[in-house]
Protein backbone atom coordinates (compact mmCIF):
# COMPACT_ATOMS: atom_id res chain seq x y z
CA UNK A 1 0.00 0.00 0.00
CA UNK A 2 2.04 2.91 1.29
CA UNK A 3 0.63 5.95 -0.43
CA UNK A 4 3.10 8.74 -0.09
CA UNK A 5 1.24 11.72 1.10
CA UNK A 6 2.42 15.03 2.30
CA UNK A 7 3.10 15.81 5.90
CA UNK A 8 2.43 19.48 6.52
CA UNK A 9 4.15 21.26 9.37
CA UNK A 10 2.11 19.70 12.18
CA UNK A 11 3.76 21.83 14.85
CA UNK A 12 2.77 25.05 13.11
CA UNK A 13 -0.81 23.86 12.78
CA UNK A 14 -0.92 22.83 16.42
CA UNK A 15 0.31 26.24 17.56
CA UNK A 16 -2.28 27.91 15.33
CA UNK A 17 -4.98 25.76 16.92
CA UNK A 18 -3.89 26.75 20.43
CA UNK A 19 -3.84 30.45 19.53
CA UNK A 20 -7.33 30.16 18.05
CA UNK A 21 -8.47 28.45 21.26
CA UNK A 22 -7.11 31.37 23.30
CA UNK A 23 -8.99 33.85 21.09
CA UNK A 24 -12.25 31.94 21.42
CA UNK A 25 -11.92 31.88 25.21
CA UNK A 26 -11.14 35.62 25.30
CA UNK A 27 -14.04 36.50 22.99
CA UNK A 28 -16.87 36.56 25.56
CA UNK A 29 -14.91 38.89 27.82
CA UNK A 30 -15.30 41.68 25.27
CA UNK A 31 -19.02 41.51 25.94
CA UNK A 32 -20.15 41.99 22.34
CA UNK A 33 -22.64 39.24 21.51
CA UNK A 34 -22.15 39.01 17.76
CA UNK A 35 -18.39 39.10 18.20
CA UNK A 36 -18.57 36.28 20.73
CA UNK A 37 -20.60 34.21 18.30
CA UNK A 38 -18.00 34.79 15.59
CA UNK A 39 -15.06 34.01 17.81
CA UNK A 40 -16.76 31.00 19.32
CA UNK A 41 -18.31 29.31 16.29
CA UNK A 42 -16.35 30.88 13.47
CA UNK A 43 -13.16 29.79 15.13
CA UNK A 44 -14.62 26.35 15.85
CA UNK A 45 -15.21 25.94 12.12
CA UNK A 46 -11.70 27.08 11.29
CA UNK A 47 -10.14 24.78 13.88
CA UNK A 48 -12.23 21.82 12.78
CA UNK A 49 -11.25 22.46 9.18
CA UNK A 50 -7.56 22.61 10.10
CA UNK A 51 -7.79 19.31 11.95
CA UNK A 52 -9.83 17.55 9.29
CA UNK A 53 -7.75 18.73 6.33
CA UNK A 54 -4.30 18.41 7.84
CA UNK A 55 -4.37 15.93 10.71
CA UNK A 56 -6.89 13.64 9.08
CA UNK A 57 -5.32 14.29 5.67
CA UNK A 58 -8.64 14.91 3.95
CA UNK A 59 -6.79 17.35 1.71
CA UNK A 60 -4.97 14.44 0.09
CA UNK A 61 -7.74 11.89 0.39
CA UNK A 62 -9.62 10.55 -2.60
CA UNK A 63 -12.45 12.84 -3.59
CA UNK A 64 -15.17 10.29 -2.95
CA UNK A 65 -14.45 10.57 0.76
CA UNK A 66 -15.08 14.30 0.71
CA UNK A 67 -18.40 13.63 -1.02
CA UNK A 68 -19.35 11.03 1.57
CA UNK A 69 -18.65 13.36 4.46
CA UNK A 70 -20.43 16.23 2.71
CA UNK A 71 -23.46 13.97 2.32
CA UNK A 72 -23.48 13.24 6.05
CA UNK A 73 -23.32 16.95 6.81
CA UNK A 74 -26.12 17.72 4.37
CA UNK A 75 -28.31 15.01 5.92
CA UNK A 76 -27.65 16.50 9.31
CA UNK A 77 -28.68 19.97 8.14
CA UNK A 78 -31.78 18.51 6.50
CA UNK A 79 -32.71 17.05 9.86
CA UNK A 80 -32.23 20.42 11.51
CA UNK A 81 -34.25 22.24 8.86
CA UNK A 82 -37.08 19.77 9.14
CA UNK A 83 -37.38 19.61 12.89
CA UNK A 84 -36.39 23.04 14.11
CA UNK A 85 -39.62 24.90 13.26
CA UNK A 86 -41.44 22.64 15.69
CA UNK A 87 -38.82 22.81 18.41
CA UNK A 88 -37.38 26.30 18.22
CA UNK A 89 -40.75 27.99 18.10
CA UNK A 90 -43.45 27.50 20.66
CA UNK A 91 -46.38 28.44 18.46
CA UNK A 92 -47.25 27.54 14.92
CA UNK A 93 -50.07 28.14 12.49
CA UNK A 94 -52.21 25.43 14.00
CA UNK A 95 -50.71 24.77 17.39
CA UNK A 96 -49.44 26.17 20.66
CA UNK A 97 -46.86 24.46 22.84
CA UNK A 98 -48.21 25.53 26.20
CA UNK A 99 -45.83 23.36 28.20
CA UNK A 100 -42.80 24.97 26.57
CA UNK A 101 -44.26 28.46 27.02
CA UNK A 102 -44.90 27.76 30.68
CA UNK A 103 -41.39 26.37 31.11
CA UNK A 104 -39.92 29.46 29.50
CA UNK A 105 -41.95 31.83 31.66
CA UNK A 106 -41.10 29.79 34.75
CA UNK A 107 -37.44 29.90 33.84
CA UNK A 108 -37.21 33.62 33.27
CA UNK A 109 -38.58 34.53 36.72
CA UNK A 110 -36.15 32.55 38.88
CA UNK A 111 -33.21 34.30 37.18
CA UNK A 112 -34.58 37.61 38.41
CA UNK A 113 -35.45 36.29 41.86
CA UNK A 114 -32.03 34.71 42.25
CA UNK A 115 -30.39 38.05 41.55
CA UNK A 116 -32.66 39.74 44.08
CA UNK A 117 -31.96 37.10 46.72
CA UNK A 118 -28.21 37.52 46.16
CA UNK A 119 -28.42 41.28 46.44
CA UNK A 120 -30.50 40.99 49.62
CA UNK A 121 -28.09 38.52 51.21
CA UNK A 122 -25.09 40.66 50.38
CA UNK A 123 -26.64 43.76 51.94
CA UNK A 124 -28.14 42.07 55.03
CA UNK A 125 -26.50 44.44 57.59
CA UNK A 126 -28.04 47.53 55.97
CA UNK A 127 -31.54 46.24 56.75
CA UNK A 128 -33.63 49.42 56.49
CA UNK A 129 -32.13 50.68 53.26
CA UNK A 130 -32.40 47.22 51.81
CA UNK A 131 -36.09 46.75 52.55
CA UNK A 132 -36.78 50.05 50.88
CA UNK A 133 -34.81 49.02 47.81
CA UNK A 134 -36.06 45.43 47.68
CA UNK A 135 -39.68 46.04 46.67
CA UNK A 136 -38.50 48.11 43.71
CA UNK A 137 -36.16 45.32 42.60
CA UNK A 138 -38.85 42.71 43.15
CA UNK A 139 -41.37 44.53 40.94
CA UNK A 140 -43.10 41.82 38.96
CA UNK A 141 -42.82 42.65 35.27
CA UNK A 142 -46.49 42.16 34.42
CA UNK A 143 -46.13 43.60 30.95
CA UNK A 144 -43.15 41.36 30.22
CA UNK A 145 -45.00 38.30 31.45
CA UNK A 146 -48.06 39.20 29.38
CA UNK A 147 -45.95 39.54 26.24
CA UNK A 148 -44.12 36.28 26.87
CA UNK A 149 -46.93 34.07 28.11
CA UNK A 150 -50.34 35.59 27.33
CA UNK A 151 -49.74 37.37 24.02
CA UNK A 152 -49.27 34.08 22.21
CA UNK A 153 -53.05 33.64 22.25
CA UNK A 154 -54.38 37.02 23.34
CA UNK A 155 -52.12 39.03 21.02
CA UNK A 156 -49.56 41.68 21.90
CA UNK A 157 -52.31 44.31 22.14
CA UNK A 158 -54.74 41.95 23.91
CA UNK A 159 -57.19 41.79 21.02
CA UNK A 160 -57.42 38.00 21.14
CA UNK A 161 -55.57 37.66 17.84
CA UNK A 162 -52.24 36.16 18.82
CA UNK A 163 -50.53 33.58 16.57
CA UNK A 164 -51.89 30.74 18.69
CA UNK A 165 -55.46 32.02 18.38
CA UNK A 166 -55.80 30.59 14.90
CA UNK A 167 -56.05 27.12 16.41
CA UNK A 168 -58.56 28.08 19.08
CA UNK A 169 -62.34 27.97 19.10
CA UNK A 170 -63.76 29.95 20.86
CA UNK A 171 -61.25 32.73 20.19
CA UNK A 172 -59.29 34.14 23.17
CA UNK A 173 -60.79 37.06 25.03
CA UNK A 174 -60.41 40.53 23.50
CA UNK A 175 -59.25 42.81 26.31
CA UNK A 176 -59.47 45.94 24.19
CA UNK A 177 -63.23 45.62 23.95
CA UNK A 178 -65.08 47.54 26.71
CA UNK A 179 -67.89 44.98 26.47
CA UNK A 180 -65.53 42.33 27.82
CA UNK A 181 -65.04 44.26 31.04
CA UNK A 182 -68.70 45.12 31.69
CA UNK A 183 -69.81 42.06 33.63
CA UNK A 184 -66.63 40.76 35.20
CA UNK A 185 -65.30 41.28 38.71
CA UNK A 186 -61.60 41.29 39.49
CA UNK A 187 -62.04 38.09 41.51
CA UNK A 188 -63.51 36.21 38.57
CA UNK A 189 -60.74 37.38 36.25
CA UNK A 190 -57.99 36.45 38.68
CA UNK A 191 -59.61 33.04 39.13
CA UNK A 192 -59.62 32.58 35.34
CA UNK A 193 -55.93 33.43 35.20
CA UNK A 194 -54.91 31.20 38.10
CA UNK A 195 -57.36 28.30 37.79
CA UNK A 196 -58.12 28.27 34.10
CA UNK A 197 -61.09 29.15 31.91
CA UNK A 198 -63.20 26.16 32.92
CA UNK A 199 -63.19 27.26 36.57
CA UNK A 200 -65.23 30.35 35.67
CA UNK A 201 -67.49 28.72 33.12
CA UNK A 202 -65.34 29.69 30.15
CA UNK A 203 -63.40 27.64 27.63
CA UNK A 204 -60.93 25.06 29.03
CA UNK A 205 -58.53 26.20 26.31
CA UNK A 206 -57.50 28.96 28.73
CA UNK A 207 -54.92 27.16 30.91
CA UNK A 208 -54.52 27.50 34.66
CA UNK A 209 -51.45 29.62 35.38
CA UNK A 210 -51.63 29.48 39.16
CA UNK A 211 -48.34 27.60 39.41
CA UNK A 212 -46.63 30.60 37.86
CA UNK A 213 -48.62 33.45 39.35
CA UNK A 214 -49.66 33.75 42.95
CA UNK A 215 -52.46 36.10 44.01
CA UNK A 216 -50.24 39.15 44.04
CA UNK A 217 -48.74 38.46 40.64
CA UNK A 218 -52.12 37.70 39.14
CA UNK A 219 -53.39 41.04 40.48
CA UNK A 220 -50.41 42.79 38.90
CA UNK A 221 -51.13 41.02 35.62
CA UNK A 222 -54.78 42.02 35.76
CA UNK A 223 -53.78 45.62 36.44
CA UNK A 224 -51.66 45.59 33.29
CA UNK A 225 -54.35 43.91 31.20
CA UNK A 226 -56.82 46.62 32.24
CA UNK A 227 -54.57 49.18 30.57
CA UNK A 228 -55.22 47.44 27.26
CA UNK A 229 -58.90 48.38 27.35
CA UNK A 230 -59.89 50.92 24.73
CA UNK A 231 -62.43 53.61 25.50
Amino acid sequence: MSEQHHHPNYKKIYITLVILLAISVAGPHLGIVWLTLITAFGIALVKANLVVQNFMHLRWEKRIMKWMLATSLILMFLFFAGVSPDVMHHTGHQWVNQAALAATARGIEPLHEAEVAEAAAAEAPAATTETAAAPAQQAFDAKGQFQTVCATCHGTTGEGNGPGAAALDPKPANFTDPAFWKDKTDDVLIKAIREGGASVGKSPLMPAWGALYDQAKAEALLAYIKTLKKG
Binding site: A48, M56, K62, M65, S72, T104, R106, I108, A114
Partner: protein
Amino acid sequence: MQKPIATTRSATGIPTGRLAVWWVLASEVVIFGGLLASYVMHRLGHPEWANAAAGTNTWIGAFNTFVLLSSSFTAVLAHQAAEHGDGKQAARYLFMTIGGAATFILVKSAEWTHEIREGFTITANGFWSFYYTAAGLHAMHVIAGAIVMAFVARDAARGRELQRVELIGIYWHFVDVVWIFLFPLLYIAK
Protein backbone atom coordinates in the same frame (compact mmCIF):
# COMPACT_ATOMS: atom_id res chain seq x y z
CA MET B 1 -5.15 -19.60 7.49
CA GLN B 2 -5.32 -16.39 5.57
CA LYS B 3 -5.47 -13.31 7.77
CA PRO B 4 -7.73 -10.64 6.28
CA ILE B 5 -5.57 -7.69 5.28
CA ALA B 6 -7.16 -4.27 5.40
CA THR B 7 -4.44 -2.67 3.35
CA THR B 8 -5.63 -3.69 -0.08
CA ARG B 9 -7.45 -1.31 -2.35
CA SER B 10 -11.22 -1.24 -2.40
CA ALA B 11 -13.40 -0.15 -5.30
CA THR B 12 -12.96 3.47 -4.22
CA GLY B 13 -9.19 3.22 -4.43
CA ILE B 14 -8.92 3.80 -0.69
CA PRO B 15 -7.43 0.98 1.42
CA THR B 16 -10.29 -0.87 3.06
CA GLY B 17 -9.15 -0.15 6.60
CA ARG B 18 -9.08 3.58 6.07
CA LEU B 19 -12.34 3.49 4.13
CA ALA B 20 -13.97 1.69 7.05
CA VAL B 21 -12.83 4.35 9.52
CA TRP B 22 -14.20 7.09 7.27
CA TRP B 23 -17.53 5.24 7.12
CA VAL B 24 -17.65 5.21 10.90
CA LEU B 25 -16.92 8.93 10.96
CA ALA B 26 -19.59 9.68 8.35
CA SER B 27 -22.21 8.07 10.56
CA GLU B 28 -20.81 9.75 13.66
CA VAL B 29 -21.23 13.12 11.90
CA VAL B 30 -24.96 12.48 11.83
CA ILE B 31 -25.03 11.16 15.41
CA PHE B 32 -23.12 14.02 17.01
CA GLY B 33 -24.31 16.54 14.44
CA GLY B 34 -27.89 15.54 15.15
CA LEU B 35 -27.38 15.72 18.89
CA LEU B 36 -25.72 19.13 18.72
CA ALA B 37 -28.30 20.41 16.23
CA SER B 38 -31.02 19.28 18.63
CA TYR B 39 -29.31 21.15 21.42
CA VAL B 40 -29.06 24.31 19.31
CA MET B 41 -32.73 24.30 18.37
CA HIS B 42 -33.86 23.71 21.93
CA ARG B 43 -31.46 26.31 23.29
CA LEU B 44 -32.70 28.91 20.83
CA GLY B 45 -36.26 28.18 21.91
CA HIS B 46 -35.45 28.43 25.61
CA PRO B 47 -33.68 31.70 26.38
CA GLU B 48 -34.06 30.96 30.09
CA TRP B 49 -31.48 28.17 29.79
CA ALA B 50 -28.84 30.91 29.98
CA ASN B 51 -29.42 30.73 33.71
CA ALA B 52 -28.45 27.06 33.85
CA ALA B 53 -25.66 27.36 31.27
CA ALA B 54 -23.92 29.88 33.49
CA GLY B 55 -23.05 26.93 35.73
CA THR B 56 -20.45 25.48 33.34
CA ASN B 57 -16.84 26.37 33.99
CA THR B 58 -15.28 27.89 30.86
CA TRP B 59 -11.71 27.50 32.14
CA ILE B 60 -12.10 23.78 32.71
CA GLY B 61 -13.66 23.46 29.28
CA ALA B 62 -10.80 25.44 27.72
CA PHE B 63 -8.20 23.33 29.50
CA ASN B 64 -9.83 20.14 28.25
CA THR B 65 -9.93 21.59 24.75
CA PHE B 66 -6.21 22.26 25.00
CA VAL B 67 -5.63 18.70 26.23
CA LEU B 68 -7.51 17.19 23.28
CA LEU B 69 -5.81 19.46 20.76
CA SER B 70 -2.44 18.40 22.12
CA SER B 71 -3.42 14.75 22.01
CA SER B 72 -4.42 15.17 18.35
CA PHE B 73 -0.98 16.63 17.75
CA THR B 74 0.78 13.63 19.32
CA ALA B 75 -1.54 11.29 17.40
CA VAL B 76 -0.55 12.77 14.06
CA LEU B 77 3.12 12.66 15.05
CA ALA B 78 2.60 8.97 15.77
CA HIS B 79 1.26 8.59 12.24
CA GLN B 80 4.28 10.37 10.82
CA ALA B 81 6.60 8.06 12.77
CA ALA B 82 4.70 5.00 11.58
CA GLU B 83 4.98 6.21 7.98
CA HIS B 84 8.75 6.24 8.45
CA GLY B 85 8.55 2.69 9.76
CA ASP B 86 9.49 3.65 13.33
CA GLY B 87 6.99 1.55 15.29
CA LYS B 88 8.57 2.25 18.67
CA GLN B 89 8.38 6.02 18.25
CA ALA B 90 4.84 5.74 16.96
CA ALA B 91 3.92 3.74 20.07
CA ARG B 92 5.50 6.38 22.29
CA TYR B 93 3.41 9.12 20.68
CA LEU B 94 0.29 6.97 20.91
CA PHE B 95 0.85 6.44 24.63
CA MET B 96 1.18 10.20 25.02
CA THR B 97 -2.16 10.52 23.26
CA ILE B 98 -3.68 8.00 25.64
CA GLY B 99 -2.24 10.07 28.47
CA GLY B 100 -4.08 13.06 27.06
CA ALA B 101 -7.28 11.04 26.96
CA ALA B 102 -6.82 10.01 30.59
CA THR B 103 -6.22 13.61 31.61
CA PHE B 104 -9.36 14.69 29.77
CA ILE B 105 -11.47 12.04 31.51
CA LEU B 106 -9.98 12.80 34.93
CA VAL B 107 -10.67 16.53 34.59
CA LYS B 108 -14.19 15.80 33.37
CA SER B 109 -14.82 13.49 36.33
CA ALA B 110 -13.76 16.19 38.75
CA GLU B 111 -15.84 18.75 36.88
CA TRP B 112 -18.96 16.59 36.88
CA THR B 113 -18.53 15.62 40.52
CA HIS B 114 -18.50 19.29 41.44
CA GLU B 115 -21.48 20.10 39.24
CA ILE B 116 -23.53 17.17 40.54
CA ARG B 117 -22.78 18.21 44.11
CA GLU B 118 -24.14 21.66 43.24
CA GLY B 119 -27.37 19.99 42.19
CA PHE B 120 -26.79 20.24 38.45
CA THR B 121 -27.80 16.70 37.55
CA ILE B 122 -28.88 15.24 34.24
CA THR B 123 -32.52 15.63 35.27
CA ALA B 124 -32.14 19.15 36.67
CA ASN B 125 -33.44 20.79 33.51
CA GLY B 126 -33.25 20.73 29.73
CA PHE B 127 -29.86 22.39 29.51
CA TRP B 128 -28.15 19.98 31.92
CA SER B 129 -29.84 17.06 30.22
CA PHE B 130 -28.20 18.03 26.94
CA TYR B 131 -24.92 18.87 28.66
CA TYR B 132 -24.46 15.45 30.25
CA THR B 133 -25.80 13.55 27.24
CA ALA B 134 -23.60 15.30 24.68
CA ALA B 135 -20.46 15.47 26.80
CA GLY B 136 -21.12 11.96 28.10
CA LEU B 137 -21.54 10.45 24.65
CA HIS B 138 -18.33 12.21 23.65
CA ALA B 139 -16.50 10.94 26.75
CA MET B 140 -17.57 7.37 25.93
CA HIS B 141 -16.02 7.80 22.50
CA VAL B 142 -12.84 9.09 24.12
CA ILE B 143 -12.63 6.05 26.39
CA ALA B 144 -13.38 3.57 23.62
CA GLY B 145 -10.83 5.24 21.36
CA ALA B 146 -8.16 5.20 24.04
CA ILE B 147 -8.67 1.48 24.63
CA VAL B 148 -8.38 0.66 20.93
CA MET B 149 -5.38 2.96 20.69
CA ALA B 150 -3.65 0.97 23.44
CA PHE B 151 -3.94 -2.20 21.37
CA VAL B 152 -2.65 -0.44 18.27
CA ALA B 153 0.24 1.02 20.25
CA ARG B 154 1.17 -2.38 21.64
CA ASP B 155 1.36 -3.81 18.14
CA ALA B 156 3.20 -0.81 16.77
CA ALA B 157 5.85 -1.07 19.48
CA ARG B 158 6.59 -4.52 18.09
CA GLY B 159 6.73 -3.14 14.57
CA ARG B 160 3.45 -4.79 13.58
CA GLU B 161 0.36 -3.46 11.79
CA LEU B 162 1.80 0.03 11.53
CA GLN B 163 -0.95 1.07 9.08
CA ARG B 164 -3.37 1.00 12.01
CA VAL B 165 -1.63 3.96 13.61
CA GLU B 166 -3.03 6.20 10.91
CA LEU B 167 -6.48 4.69 11.29
CA ILE B 168 -6.79 5.13 15.04
CA GLY B 169 -5.37 8.60 14.50
CA ILE B 170 -8.17 9.54 12.11
CA TYR B 171 -10.73 8.35 14.66
CA TRP B 172 -8.95 10.30 17.37
CA HIS B 173 -9.00 13.55 15.38
CA PHE B 174 -12.72 13.14 14.94
CA VAL B 175 -13.14 12.89 18.74
CA ASP B 176 -11.16 16.13 18.92
CA VAL B 177 -13.32 17.83 16.27
CA VAL B 178 -16.56 16.94 18.11
CA TRP B 179 -15.17 18.57 21.23
CA ILE B 180 -14.12 21.61 19.16
CA PHE B 181 -17.83 22.18 18.58
CA LEU B 182 -19.06 21.03 21.99
CA PHE B 183 -16.79 23.51 23.77
CA PRO B 184 -18.21 26.74 22.34
CA LEU B 185 -21.78 25.40 22.50
CA LEU B 186 -21.70 24.36 26.15
CA TYR B 187 -19.04 26.62 27.62
CA ILE B 188 -18.79 29.83 25.60
CA ALA B 189 -22.00 30.78 23.82
CA LYS B 190 -24.09 30.40 26.94
